[in-house]
């Protein structure tokens, strides 16, 4: 490394070299971390572990008995048990979390499907065959997302009350659709934009119809992006609390609502809370790691590739 750039002090940013020094040295410098890289690696690992501690502690505690969970100092090496999970699923209380989990799944999946049905054609009209002033339309979509939910929740609540849609999971799903649609349009446009124009032109010249073009040219390129968009929309719906709390009750309550009403504040409940948090976060963790490669592009609304 220093042979190529003699002026460079040993401690300076070595990573760029590994990337751009030309193929000759690339493999070698990657396999041969300098002292500085080791220091960065140690620091990064320490911080990563520090950030992961609450998650790891939550998982560990969920497998402890209530007595071991609430000790000071913490009983890290206490015996493991599934009791907390049995309790969460209503072993003694008889209150099952399943209805709320099913409600959450219903609202999230329903709204995600609806978002895709609305956002894919919209993104098509903003990217592949764009309407005039398509940037204005894009920014209109984005501006609706900038309006805080609290500013619209009262009229929605009053409407739901008069229309008899209160405590109805499908109505909540519709609200989640509007919550996610603007972001989905932005994400999807950025993914559809990656379809090479040459391929679209070629298929047009070959006389391929719209459906054939969509299936053979657009879909293969855009599919990972569509999947990532769906996963991110699913996460946002699954996480939502404010609308769910205001618009649902006993029948249509979602998992986050169930979770907030779950802590009694009496007796030992820490392991049970941790088990509940693990179960409810599992779908989000799966969806998030599945979308990991496209997560940044999606969350930055396509502004960052």
């Amino acid at each position: 490394m220093s042979t190529l750039t003699p002026a460079e002090p040993r401690s300076s940013v070595p990573a760029p070299h590994a990337r751009t020094n030309g193929s000759r040295r690339r493999g070698k410098s990657r396999m041969d971390p300098t002292r500085n890289n080791t220091a960065a690696g140690v620091a990064a690992w320490l911080l990563a572990l520090l950030f992961a501690v609450p998650v790891l502690w939550m998982i560990l505690t969920s497998f402890h008995s209530e007595v071991d969970a609430a000790t000071n100092p913490p009983s890290v090496a206490a015996g493991l048990t599934l009791d907390a999970y049995k309790e969460f699923f209503g072993a003694t209380s008889g209150v099952s979390p399943w209805p709320s989990l099913i409600n959450s799944a219903t609202a999230s999946v329903f709204s995600t499907v609806l978002v895709l049905l609305l956002a894919i054609p919209a993104a098509y009209a903003l990217s592949i065959r764009p309407v005039k002033k398509w940037t204005d339309v894009m920014f209109f979509f984005l501006s609706t997302k900038m309006m805080p939910v609290v500013a619209a929740v009262l009229p929605l609540y009053l409407f739901a009350k008069t229309a008899g849609a209160l405590d109805n999971i499908w109505f909540l799903g519709l609200m989640y659709t509007s919550m996610n649609l603007p972001i989905a349009v932005w994400m999807m446009r950025s993914f559809l934009d990656e379809v090479p124009v040459e391929m679209l032109e070629a298929s047009q010249i070959d006389g391929a119809g719209l459906l054939l073009t969509l299936r053979k040219v657009v879909a293969p390129v855009a599919m990972p992006g569509i999947a990532a968009t769906a996963l991110i929309c699913f996460i946002f719906s699954w996480n939502e609390l404010l609308l769910a709390r205001v618009l649902t009750g006993v029948v249509a309550g979602t998992a986050p609502v169930f979770l907030t009403g779950f802590v009694s504040g009496q007796g030992l409940f820490l392991a049970k809370v941790c088990a509940a948090a693990v179960v409810i976060s599992l779908p989000v963790l799966f969806a998030g790691f599945a979308a990991q490669d496209k997560l940044v592009q999606g969350l930055s609304l396509g502004a960052v590739k």
Binding site: T5, P33, A44, V150, I235
Partner: protein, 322 residues
């Protein structure tokens, strides 16, 4: 790229002789282009714009659902109350403090982590995965974990660890801080920073990895110090990513409801505007006042959003020009 070809074809059709037939066909083509857009557009206008108009109307009404006979026009009374009522004023201040500190701290931490993760080291992928995890915990669950498992003064992990460390030195009087009651807003801020740092890190890491390396290399050849490279090359390049992360983060964090609801239930001066509005209409049934506060939030968000839009727009333009 797509836009360029579209423009070409659009120009091509508009240079044709504008006979009636052609114009009708053009209009049909324009509508065929617009058609896929309309369902999404109409749906959004109905579900987001109409309710806001209603909020705007209610904000000028005297309306408490518990005393419906007193309903009537209130003028700017609700707005005056929002801006003078101590509870609402406190909520405005809390919202600003909470949003600004969470955004700044998580941006700084995210920048540090991104700079570290930009280097190559053993197990980088796994470290990145561990760092993303906090963002993928359901916010309600994260708030519950922070409140009960980490910050609880009696059996929380922090005080438990303090007891353990102090006992190593033979002391049985370890410090046992109680953040939840002595600094509840800080407890909320810590849990939010924990959740949002990964988001900032991801955006900044993508920014770092899009840095043009030839200039950095040239600077290194010329003997520039790492600090000089960071200060004069990396930071200017990262600026728009820092802005993007900060502003997108601000838009989400202004709306924070879950952490406040779970950790303090808005007590001890920790109620931010979303929580205060929720309480005002859900428990106090003051519909007019809640709506006026909602409009105030929207105005605040519009101010922030104008900057956000400009940043997103500049990145967006750069990309569209590609």
């Amino acid at each position: 790229m797509t836009t360029a070809t579209a423009r070409v074809s659009r120009h091509g059709s508009s240079t044709a002789k504008p006979s009636k037939n052609v114009r009708a066909r053009e209009r049909a083509v324009a509508w065929a282009r617009r058609a896929p857009l309309l369902p999404a557009l109409i749906f959004l206008i109905i579900v987001t714009q109409l309710p806001f108009v209603v909020t705007l109307i209610i904000s000028f009404l005297n309306w408490n659902s518990l005393s419906p006979d007193k309903t009537g026009f209130a003028g700017f009374e609700n707005y005056i109350q929002v801006l003078t009522d101590p509870y609402m004023l406190q909520a405005i201040i809390t919202t600003i403090v909470e949003t600004v500190s969470v955004v700044l701290i998580s941006l700084l931490l995210g920048l540090g982590l991104a700079l570290l993760l930009d280097k190559k080291f053993i197990g980088r992928g796994l470290a990145r995965t561990l760092l993303i995890a906090p963002f993928l915990i359901v916010p309600v669950a994260a708030a519950l974990i922070w409140k009960h498992a980490i910050l609880n003064p009696v059996y929380g992990l922090i005080n438990g660890t303090l007891t353990w460390v102090w006992s190593l030195f033979g002391s049985d009087t370890p410090p046992q801080p109680d953040l939840l009651s002595s600094a509840p807003l800080m407890a909320i801020i810590i849990s939010l920073v924990w959740q949002w740092t990964p988001f900032m890190m991801l955006i900044l890491l993508a920014g770092l990895q899009s840095r043009p390396m030839d200039t950095v290399e040239a600077a290194q050849m010329d003997g520039a110090t790492p600090w000089a490279i960071f200060r004069h090359l990396t930071l200017p390049h990262l600026r728009q990513y820092l802005e993007l992360g900060g502003l997108l983060g601000a838009i989400y964090i202004v709306q924070n409801f879950d952490a406040t609801f779970v950790i303090t239930s808005g007590g001890l001066g920790t109620a931010n505007l979303p929580y205060a509005i929720y309480e005002t209409f859900y428990y106090a049934n003051e519909y007019g006042l809640a709506s006026a506060a909602g409009v105030v939030v929207v105005i605040g968000t519009i101010i922030v959003a104008t900057f956000a839009l400009r940043t997103v727009f500049s990145l967006f333009k750069k990309e569209a020009a590609r």
